[in-house]
């Protein structure tokens, strides 16, 4: 079973303005979660808000049986979630969905994160640390103080490059400019991206131009989270390539091959 009606909150910390990291005690989830998968969390047992909220698995500590999610407060649900304290419980489903495909031995990986998009990519970085692949992390945000987890990312010793919209730290401009250069220099064989839709669209276009494989973690409004209601679909190319199909972000995703997504 993947439904845990009373998962204990271990701690919650603010990592940046409006950004929180929530640590949960969930040994089964921690043992089986793969990077790119998500948790579907019921924030209140009441009816407001009614639906669960999906959050990527951000980190797992198998020894301690813990998992973490990293999220930005954007509305009612996330505001309520930010109030959860140590010892309280949450109703959690997961791990759900299809995660990232790990790189083949020797492939150079590039992780491209826009803002809160670092959430699932951090877990991927953790996982890649156990492998021998070389890893680039390209981290983008609007301003320097919204660049998340720079120190913790650094601890994994990837080649780290940052970009901010206002140039307050790292390169001035979108993080995709860093990817453009990396691809031109042939420094990445496999790219993983998560962030705002406009960023993902640019990543997909760059990958196509350079003939490099990559995967994107997508978002859509969710109902069930398990593939039953068909509300979370995104437009993808059909198997025969002649038309398109709506695929479920919760079940066939949230991670999709970049070349399959139709924008």
């Amino acid at each position: 079973m993947k439904h845990f009606p009373a998962v204990e909150v271990i701690r919650q910390e603010m990592v940046a303005p409006d950004c929180y990291r929530l640590h949960l005690f969930a040994p089964e989830i921690s043992a089986s979660a793969k990077p790119g998968q998500f948790l579907h969390i019921r924030i209140t047992p009441g009816l407001e808000p009614l639906l669960r909220r999906p959050f990527s698995v951000h980190a797992a500590d198998r020894q301690k049986g813990e998992v973490a999610v990293l999220y930005r407060v954007v509305g009612r649900g996330t505001r309520l979630l930010a109030e959860k304290k140590k010892g309280e419980t949450l109703d959690v489903m997961g791990p759900l969905g299809r995660g990232f495909t790990l790189p083949a031995p020797g492939q150079k990986a590039a992780l491209v994160a826009g803002g809160i998009g670092i959430a699932p990519l951090f877990f991927l970085l953790q996982t890649l640390a156990g492998l021998k692949n070389s890893v680039h992390v390209l981290l983008g945000a609007r301003v320097a103080k919204e660049l998340l987890l720079i120190r913790e990312i650094g601890a994994y010793k990837p080649s780290l490059m940052v970009a901010t919209d206002d140039g307050s730290r790292g390169r001035r401009g979108p993080v995709t400019e860093l990817l453009r250069e990396l691809l031109a220099e042939r420094k990445a064989d496999r790219v993983y991206a998560c962030g705002p839709t406009a960023m993902l669209k640019t990543v997909a276009a760059l990958l196509q131009k350079h003939g490099v494989d990559g995967e994107l973690s997508l978002e859509e409004r969710m109902g069930c989270g398990v593939g039953a209601c068909l509300s979370c679909v995104c437009k993808t190319s059909s198997k025969d390539g002649t038309s398109f199909a709506y695929r479920r972000v919760c079940l066939e995703g949230p991670v999709f091959p970049a070349r399959d997504v139709i924008w």
């Binding site: 079973m1 639906l51 109902g223 593939g227 209601c229 068909l230 509300s231 709506y246």
Partner: protein, 305 residues
């Protein structure tokens, strides 16, 4: 005291308990198998099936509203042939009746889908959806008008030997009148209600929130509307009723039963709590025991006495 009787009869179909899943909220069953013991359900009503595969409507397809959700899925489904080949075999493993929900753009399509399902082993009944608010044709166009509703019912009845359950819409002036027309046309049972037509506007984008502009409202917000619909239909016709609309707990289900429903279906509540059907079932059982009622059927329509 002995365990109370929970079995109910819907149009000759014997259900081990009155708790079903609502079409479109439980996929083809397999999606919820990691969360629910499918053997314990009274019945599984699958996603609406059409003759050909349907793409469905453009996203966003779901928005939250106070105590409810609006959806505009638009009957995305792989088509009846794919259902029979790829999804039904999974469902046959369980000792739970499978009810196929069907829809069509035309009378002929309803008939063709009904015929394909009738030959298949493992289908216990058909639920005829004449009440989907999210497709341009084939939903409400049949359900909103008593004579069109009767016409579909008659055609499907002729095309199948399976029990025919007709699913009614609340988006009508008199649901009792549609129920009477459908009953006269030979329906074996009725299910109600489908979603209520609605919409919301995203004021930041200054556009409708749903890709399809309008959608269907479900969840606790619609429960009183649904209970009243069951009440009215119970008085209008003698057919067994499957009640639904906003049921999230056993007390909600019991309201429908007392209003006249012989079985209930759980929809939106599955999204909040994948264990909802199981909790509702145990809650009904507990209520019967606590009140020393030996048989669930004693409560059906009791509020009318």
């Amino acid at each position: 005291m002995n365990k109370p009787n929970l079995t109910v009869d819907i149009a000759g179909l014997r259900l081990k308990n009155p708790v079903l899943t609502a079409s479109g909220t439980f996929g083809f069953g397999s999606e919820y198998a990691p969360f629910v013991d499918l053997n314990r359900l009274g019945g599984i009503v699958v996603k609406g099936l059409t003759l050909e595969p349907r793409l469905g409507n453009p996203p966003p397809r779901m928005v939250e509203t106070p105590a409810g959700i609006l959806n505009s899925i638009g009957l995305q489904n792989p088509g009846v042939d794919c259902f029979l080949a790829e999804h039904l075999p999974f469902l046959r493993q369980f000792a739970t009746p499978v009810i196929a929900n069907i829809a069509g753009n035309s009378l002929q399509e309803y008939v063709a889908v009904a015929e394909k399902l009738t030959g298949a082993s493992g289908i216990a009944a058909l639920e005829v959806n004449i009440s989907c608010p999210n497709v341009k044709r084939g939903g409400l166009q049949f359900g909103a008008d008593p004579s069109a509703a009767a016409q579909v019912t008659r055609a499907v009845k002729k095309a199948t030997t399976l029990p025919v359950i007709v699913k009614l819409s609340p988006n009508v002036t008199s649901i009792g009148e549609v129920a009477r027309a459908v009953a006269e046309a030979g329906a074996d049972a009725l299910s109600l209600i489908n979603t209520l037509a609605g919409m919301t506007i995203d004021i930041r984008r200054r556009r409708p929130a749903l890709g399809n502009i309008t959608g269907g409202l479900s969840g606790p917000a619609i429960r009183p509307v649904a209970v009243r619909a069951v009440w009215e239909v119970y008085q209008a016709v003698k057919l067994p009723i499957i009640g639904m609309g906003g049921i999230v707990c056993a007390a909600d289900a019991l309201e429908f039963i007392m209003a006249g429903a012989r079985a209930v279906a759980v929809g939106t509540a599955n999204f909040l709590n994948p264990g909802a059907t199981m909790e509702i079932l145990s809650g009904i059982e507990r209520f019967l025991e606590e009140n020393e009622i030996g048989d669930i059927n004693e409560l059906v329509g009791i509020a009318h006495e």
